[in-house]
């Protein structure tokens, strides 16, 4: 109770409230502009938050993370272009509704479903906290190593149809984090005699290059265009009444979001896809899916908005990020010497509760903002794409240069920007590189610290949680092999698609 009050007290500060407002409203706007996305915004703002208090910086970034998907639904519904990649399925049913003159119904339903998913996710996070506080301390070096390994495995296998490329990029990420001076043996690794490589390659420089600069290059090299969204008339709160008629779909979709949000490497896209499939299978009118079904719209929006809160679970409890955005947030924790993991629940429980309340507040702020400003957003999203590219380039400079005023960092970021552009153009995922860097670092440190206690390889899995994680790893591999064999036998390989959640974020 004391921590609960301390958490509330943390939010009752003008700078935290301002950060929450800026993050939430900014996140909606960023999410609504196709071609920006929360990853670009978080990457740019990350260094700016280092000088702020942890709670201020984190609430701002959380605000962007949690609210961008609300905004992303607007262009998905109105112009058939998802604002963020995770709103892709929203356009399947949202746009047909707009075409038949139901834009207002579709947008208000998307907001309501997003709010339902967001609050459901936070509810689960709060309910799970006591369990996390008990389980998290059971995670020692071995368990965290195995959990990070499972994360890498899932990141690779989740990119179906692109597993080799995802594996290649994840391994590249792991390699990147090994560059520089080895912290234990003080030996150089792949520095080629260059002093700037001795301290390794900064994660934020890579993130800014791969997400922000690559997007700027992508927009600047592509033909200029300007999305044209028509204004909407009607009360935005009307969707709540209709949502209540589809409570089951919204709740199950949110539950999918929570479960898959907790699993590293899967995230919003998988959650959305599974809940959409569930909604279609259990619907009385499955044929209307893809042609403007409100249930389909609810399923996809509720699922993707339940993910941010759930994605905080492995991050806060174990210090293991499940996707790129939480990986970026991890660096904010580290900068402030607040190390997420089992100790966080024992030493900084007030911060954890503060973040929970911030998540609730941001959902309310965003909902209120959207009820009154949807038409304003339809004007903002008309920014021409090359103009947007130019702005991202200017903003990326702030992110990279403010780290340590280094021109070398800018050059490295530009190099990663080119790599990111190539990957985007080839429809290959970027997220495995970032998760490879973060999880690779965790694996190296944790395996080293576990070594003194290991007499035989079996000691690695002689504790209950490490054994469960080991079984899970085997299970994931076995299930993947089973799918491959099934596809082989059916002579019908999994159909390829170009919707990967890393493409637009």
């Amino acid at each position: 109770m004391e921590n609960l009050l301390a958490g509330l007290e943390m939010l009752a500060r003008w700078d935290v409230i301002l950060a929450l407002l800026v993050g939430s409203v900014g996140g909606v706007i960023i999410g609504a502009i196709p071609g920006v996305g929360p990853a670009v915004a978080i990457a740019i703002l990350l260094p700016a938050t280092f000088s702020l208090d942890p709670i201020v910086g984190l609430t701002m970034l959380l605000g962007i993370y949690g609210s961008s998907m609300y905004g992303g639904a607007i262009p998905a519904v109105l112009i058939n272009t998802p604002g963020t990649a995770v709103n892709a399925l929203t356009s399947y049913d949202g746009y047909p509704m707009t075409e038949r003159g139901e834009a207002h119904r579709a947008v208000s339903l998307a907001y309501s479903a997003s709010f339902w998913g967001g609050i459901f996710g936070i509810g689960c996070l709060i309910l799970l906290s006591p369990v996390l506080a008990i389980i998290a301390p059971m995670f020692g070096s071995r368990e965290i190593f195995l959990a990070a390994f499972l994360g890498i495995l899932l990141v690779i296998l989740a990119h179906r149809g692109q597993i080799f490329a995802a594996g290649l990029l994840a391994m590249f990420g792991i390699f990147l984090q090994t560059l520089g001076l080895d912290a234990v043996t003080y030996t150089q690794r792949y520095t080629f005699g260059y002093s700037f490589l001795s301290s390794g390659i900064n994660l934020i420089v890579v993130v800014l290059g791969l997400f922000a600069l690559s997007q700027a290059f992508y927009l600047l090299t592509a033909p200029d265009s300007s999305p044209n969204a028509k204004p909407i008339r009607g009360k935005m709160s009307a969707g709540f009444r209709e949502l209540l008629r589809h409570k089951r779909v919204a709740t199950v979709a949110s539950a999918f979001g929570v479960i898959l949000g907790m699993v590293p490497g899967t995230g919003e896209f998988t959650a959305q896809f599974m809940s959409y499939t569930y909604a279609q299978k259990t619907s009385k009118d499955p044929d209307s899916f893809g042609k403007g079904s409100p249930e389909g719209l609810i399923a996809s929006e509720a699922a993707n908005n339940a993910v941010p809160a759930a994605a905080m679970i492995p991050l806060l409890a174990l210090g293991i990020p499940g996707e790129a955005l939480t990986a970026m947030m991890l660096s904010v924790f580290y900068v402030h010497n607040v190390i997420p993991g089992p100790q966080l629940f024992q030493n900084n429980l007030d911060l954890v509760y503060g973040l929970y309340f911030a998540l609730i507040a941001l959902n309310v702020i965003v909902m209120v903002f959207l009820l009154f400003s949807t038409n304003l957003l339809t004007v903002i999203i008309r920014v021409p794409t090359r103009f947007l590219g130019m702005l991202i380039l200017l903003l990326s400079f702030v992110g990279v240069y403010s780290l340590r005023n280094s021109l070398t960092d800018c050059m490295i970021a530009a190099g990663f920007g080119i790599l990111g552009l190539v990957l985007k153009r080839l429809n290959l995922p970027i997220v495995p590189i970032i998760l490879g860097m973060v999880l690779g670092g965790i694996m190296e440190v944790k395996l080293r610290s576990a070594l003194p206690r290991l007499k035989t390889p079996f000691d690695m899995i002689d504790r209950p949680i490490s054994f469960i994680l080991f079984v899970l790893i085997l299970l994931v591999l076995a299930l993947h092999l089973r799918t491959l064999v099934k596809e082989w036998r059916a002579h019908q390989p999994q159909e390829d698609h170009d919707l990967h959640d890393s493409q637009l974020r």
Binding site: A216, V398, R425
Partner: protein, 179 residues
């Protein structure tokens, strides 16, 4: 025959032009880095395998080379898509914008954050094909807002321009601190 076809189809996936060029580059880079492992990392005699400074570079580069080879195989077995070299040319042309970015970063410590950002925004706007005065003014204004937001309000760690040194006393102090 049918088995070979199935194996091929197993490797197939949605591809875009230029995929095989990327696959070759990835394989070449991985193999080159792997070939340098002996002189770029150290093996500590008597130490455990998992604690060796060479262990993780070896694992990651080995994995990179293996996945790159499989990716290349998948690419080679897939149908050729037209437009490979146009795509590669687009990658090369994007280097121009990387150069713009680096030039901007190099200019800021000399020209000052505010002037460099406004000039850069207008110049890049022109390069992007915008000719209308209103658009160029909007680019300059957006640049000004960025400077005020990050340097003046958020006090982000950015250098002051050497050009500010020539300004009169009062103005110089304001420009050095806030812009």
């Amino acid at each position: 025959m049918s088995r070979v076809k199935t194996l091929q189809s197993l490797f197939k996936r949605y591809r875009r032009p230029g995929d095989i060029v990327f696959a070759w580059l990835a394989l070449i880079v991985s193999l080159y880095l792997l070939s340098r492992i002996a002189d770029q990392t150290v093996w500590r005699s008597g130490g455990k395998l998992f604690a060796q400074p060479r262990f993780w570079p070896a694992v990651s580069l080995g994995g990179m080379a293996a996945f790159a080879a499989l990716h290349l195989l998948g690419s080679a077995l897939s149908e050729r898509i037209q437009g490979r070299w146009q795509e590669v040319w687009l990658w090369i042309t994007s280097l121009e914008y990387a150069a713009w970015f680096i030039a901007y970063a190099a200019a800021v410590p000399y020209a000052g954050y505010l002037p460099a950002t406004i000039l850069f925004a207008i110049a890049l706007g022109l390069r992007a094909g915008y000719r209308r005065t209103s658009t160029l003014v909007a680019a300059g204004a957006a640049a000004g807002v960025i400077v005020v937001l990050f340097k003046t309000l958020l006090r982000v760690n950015l250098p002051s321009g050497r050009v500010y040194e020539v300004l009169p006393d009062g103005l110089r102090q304001i420009m050095l601190t806030y812009f």
